[in-house]
């Protein structure tokens, strides 16, 4: 089985849109999920003619979504620091506060947050989480367990 042209983008979108949205609602919070969703699929569309369909486009789009989510967290976290990017208009919008857990997830460092969500919401294997984070599998496991540990401490 060789690699080949990806499916028509509309089909790709209907296959993976819900998964990406479900990931982002937890990974960046409900208030930012739509923006990061759009950014994710625009990045995918930009790269789309060159991507080869190796049967694992689900991994590919989740990788893009994770990187876009991490970039989003860095922009938000460094709010007061001047950046060449225009300020994220959503930064000052209050997130709907559902429960202590969501606050605790939101307070995690970006990589830990993404790692925890990939592992415990998306059920992704550690090798894939490592690939997404650009780290080793050992580091990915460490990110997940450190994230879980501070969630337990905060939520109690």
């Amino acid at each position: 089985m060789g690699t080949r042209t990806p499916p028509p983008f509309e089909r790709f979108l209907s296959e993976h849109g819900a998964t990406v949205m479900r990931f982002l609602v937890v990974a960046v919070g409900s208030a930012h999920a739509d923006d990061v969703y759009q950014e994710t699929f625009l990045s995918a569309l930009r790269a789309y003619p060159k991507v080869r369909d190796d049967g694992r486009l689900d991994r590919w789009i989740l990788r893009i979504a994770s990187r876009t989510a991490i970039d989003h967290h860095r922009r938000v976290a460094k709010g007061p620091t001047p950046t060449p990017m225009p300020p994220d208009r959503a930064v000052h919008d209050p997130e709907p506060l559902d429960d202590g857990l969501r606050d605790a997830v939101a307070a995690l460092p970006a990589k830990q947050r993404i790692a925890v969500v990939l592992r415990h919401v998306m059920d992704r294997p550690y090798d894939e989480i490592a690939e997404v984070l650009g780290s080793t599998e050992v580091a990915a496991r460490a990110n997940v367990s450190a994230g879980l540990k501070s969630l337990r401490e905060r939520v109690g």
Partner: protein, 205 residues
């Protein structure tokens, strides 16, 4: 822990993703990332499916045609950036509406001929020369492309016309004036010729 983190269900995520897709498609269009814009429109011959590229109109399909198959073909032969786009298909929809309303006899649209083989492109080029309100025969088209014995091949080529109605393969009829075949069905061929004033072969050639 894992259950507590499941904050929205797959169904909710699906509905929310579909809402977000509308804005995404507009942003994709604005960013120039739509290579094949697709859309549909109602018409007297059933819902029409349209595909338009930067070069022009590439495909019109009747409602019973396999759209998934067509889109896979676009992905292979045109570009995989196949995105629903009202804007890309707008001019085509307008001109088709005018045609079906009797207000338009000739289409002014750029065509993308990449879905035609060289022979099919030649046959359809000769077909496009048959004006509204007239018909021609398979043999006449064969002669026009200097393949006088290729009437049957002409018929087969017309059957693969990726842009029916606009490239008027319905205007090609048998030498006896009979409608013979049409990829979209003889009812549609009859309807289109009726719309164009029931031209007969004998009145024009």
């Amino acid at each position: 822990m894992s259950n507590e983190l499941h904050t929205i269900s797959i169904e909710e995520a699906q509905a929310r993703a579909e809402r977000a897709d509308t804005a995404l498609r507009e942003a994709a269009e604005a960013a120039g990332l739509v290579d094949v814009g697709i859309g549909t429109m109602p018409s007297p011959v059933g819902e029409l499916y349209l595909a338009v590229t930067r070069k022009g109109l590439a495909c019109i399909a009747f409602e019973e045609q396999d759209r998934d198959g067509l889109e896979r073909r676009f992905a292979q032969e045109l570009s995989p950036r196949v995105v629903a786009s009202a804007r890309a298909t707008d001019a085509v929809r307008r001109q088709l509406d005018e045609y079906f309303g009797g207000a338009r006899h000739a289409f002014e649209l750029d065509l993308d001929r990449r879905l035609m083989s060289p022979f099919v492109e030649k046959v359809l080029g000769a077909t496009a020369a048959v004006p509204f309100g007239e018909v021609s025969s398979y043999g006449a088209v064969a002669s026009r492309i200097r393949r006088p014995n290729a009437a049957r091949a002409v018929g087969a080529a017309l059957g693969t016309n990726p842009i029916p109605i606009v490239v008027p393969c319905h205007r090609i009829v048998g030498a006896n004036g009979k409608l013979t075949g049409y990829a979209g069905g003889l009812d549609r061929k009859e309807f289109l010729l009726h719309l164009e004033g029931d031209p007969t072969l004998f009145a024009t050639s």
